[in-house]
């Protein structure tokens, strides 16, 4: 895999002929015996091809929704863009500061307070202490956690978890925002607030890639739609053309009343 982040403008995303497969064994590590014998365990299901020759070029400031069935490769694409999972072949690059919201609350030390977790999460994105301190009040205020900010995260409800996670991600000055279906957990008021915050960041020049099964959310937030199916890109274009295509693909076209 080659990465060429440095050659890109902040907010620009490039994916060229990207392919990636995953082994679907329950125990993911190889044993030493297999290494010494020099072969993989026979039998078991073949690897799943999560991405097959996907190419994508996203300009800074674009808002891209990504839809498809479960297992179509949406989350894999985000993990590849976030630089967490390498490609088997092809190239990937994201310019500038990439902030990803891939797993709800993942990485939170459960024994640590919300405040301590703000510092840890900021640090995970390469921020220094002073940079996090400068954002601390805004993050706490946005999260609406109040005094709970000093309680251990283990005592949080899943909604509080989400609010903290999103509040941190929303204040990291992203050039590229990668969001995977995490907004669905919050209540309606907080969801609206998140959407407003995302819109603010986009207005400030950030690029958004949003994976969601919520067609309405995507239509509100995104201008461009990418439809994935079986690891391949089957549609890439304006969201108002893409949604009917997506609904046809899913066999739900009849369920959605289309405006005459």
């Amino acid at each position: 895999m080659t990465s060429f982040d440095d050659a890109l403008r902040p907010g620009e995303i490039v994916l060229e002929h990207a392919s990636r497969s995953f082994s679907v064994r329950a125990d993911r590590g190889r044993t030493l015996k297999e290494m010494l014998i020099g072969r993989k365990r026979a039998g078991g299901p073949p690897p799943v091809e999560a991405l097959r020759d996907v190419s994508l070029h996203i300009e800074p400031g674009e808002t891209v929704g990504m839809v498809g069935r479960n297992g179509a490769g949406k989350s894999s694409t985000l993990r590849v863009l976030a630089g967490i999972v390498p490609l088997n072949c092809g190239r990937v690059g994201c310019g500038g500061q990439v902030v990803s919201q891939l797993e709800l609350g993942a990485g939170f030390g459960r024994e640590f307070s919300g405040r301590e977790n703000i510092f840890l999460n900021g640090a995970l994105h390469g921020l220094q202490k002073e940079q996090i301190e400068a954002r601390l009040d805004a993050i706490i205020e946005f999260s609406e956690l109040g005094d709970f900010i000093d309680a251990p995260v283990a005592t949080y409800s899943s909604g509080m978890f989400l609010r903290l996670g999103f509040s941190i991600a929303a204040h990291l000055d992203a050039d590229v925002l990668l969001i995977d279906e995490v907004l669905a957990v919050g209540d309606e008021a907080f969801q609206r607030k998140c959407e407003a915050r995302i819109a603010e960041q986009i207005a400030g020049g950030a690029t958004l890639v949003l994976v969601s099964h919520d067609a309405a959310l995507i239509e509100r937030t995104c201008e461009r739609l990418v439809v994935l199916d079986g690891g391949r890109k089957v549609f890439d274009g304006p969201v108002d053309e893409g949604m009917p295509f997506y609904h046809r693909l899913m066999g739900t076209a009849d369920a959605v009343p289309s405006p005459q």
């Binding site: 015996k33 993990r79 976030a82 999972v85 990803s100 993942a106 024994e111 640090a123 220094q128 202490k129």
Partner: protein, 254 residues
Amino acid sequence: MAYRYLFEQMVRRELRQKYRGSALGVLWYLINPLVLMGAYYLMFGVIFDQASEPDYPLFLLVGLIVWVFFNQAVVSAAPSLLDQGALIRKARFPREIIPTSVVTVQLVTFLALLALLAPITIAIRGSLDVALLLLPLVLACLFAFILGFALAVSILHAYFRDVAPILSAALLPWFFVSPIFFRPESITEQRTARFVLEWVNPIAPYIGAVRDVLYGGVVPAAPELAYVVIAAALALLGGRALFRRMQGELAVVV
């Protein structure tokens, strides 16, 4: 060093998380090795007293803290990447930070033990000598050697889950053949056996060098000192190269 603060956070997390909620807290980091050292002293300093060295307890303890540093660092680094799997799957940051912070915590413990032991040793042995100026160099090399080793072990264990069990099985016999209770020259006349004890075991020259400076008040022999420097460079470069080569799939395997 954009991730300097992350490293700081990880070290602090590691220090606080492990014994969080226990009455003695971080003191456990000192108590465990102290108890271990007490047990070995009882065993080899009192019960099987061979006392071929003057001030045998100090001879033993100086060697023992070097071993305990090595042992604890490697044992805690091995599962560290798996333990922090949630972070690895969440964000892109230099993965070396995880085992490095674990080893750094053990370094802090080691330095605290050393700060207790060194003044006593120097006072009793009268080993205050210019040789002591070499101690920072020897300790820096010791840290580099252990860090390199720990990087290799942690990345290997993430892919091959047999590594940590093999290692913990190996560490006990390894401990007994390391020159902690004895000097190789005082237990065997045979040249091959001495060579193996002194040079094949990579931790042996470090124990020897720290002991020379601290307990003996002498400058380590040139070959020993050269070994200490070269092994540190090789371990660190090799461990880091292996880590970088293998780290790509970490988010998939942990």
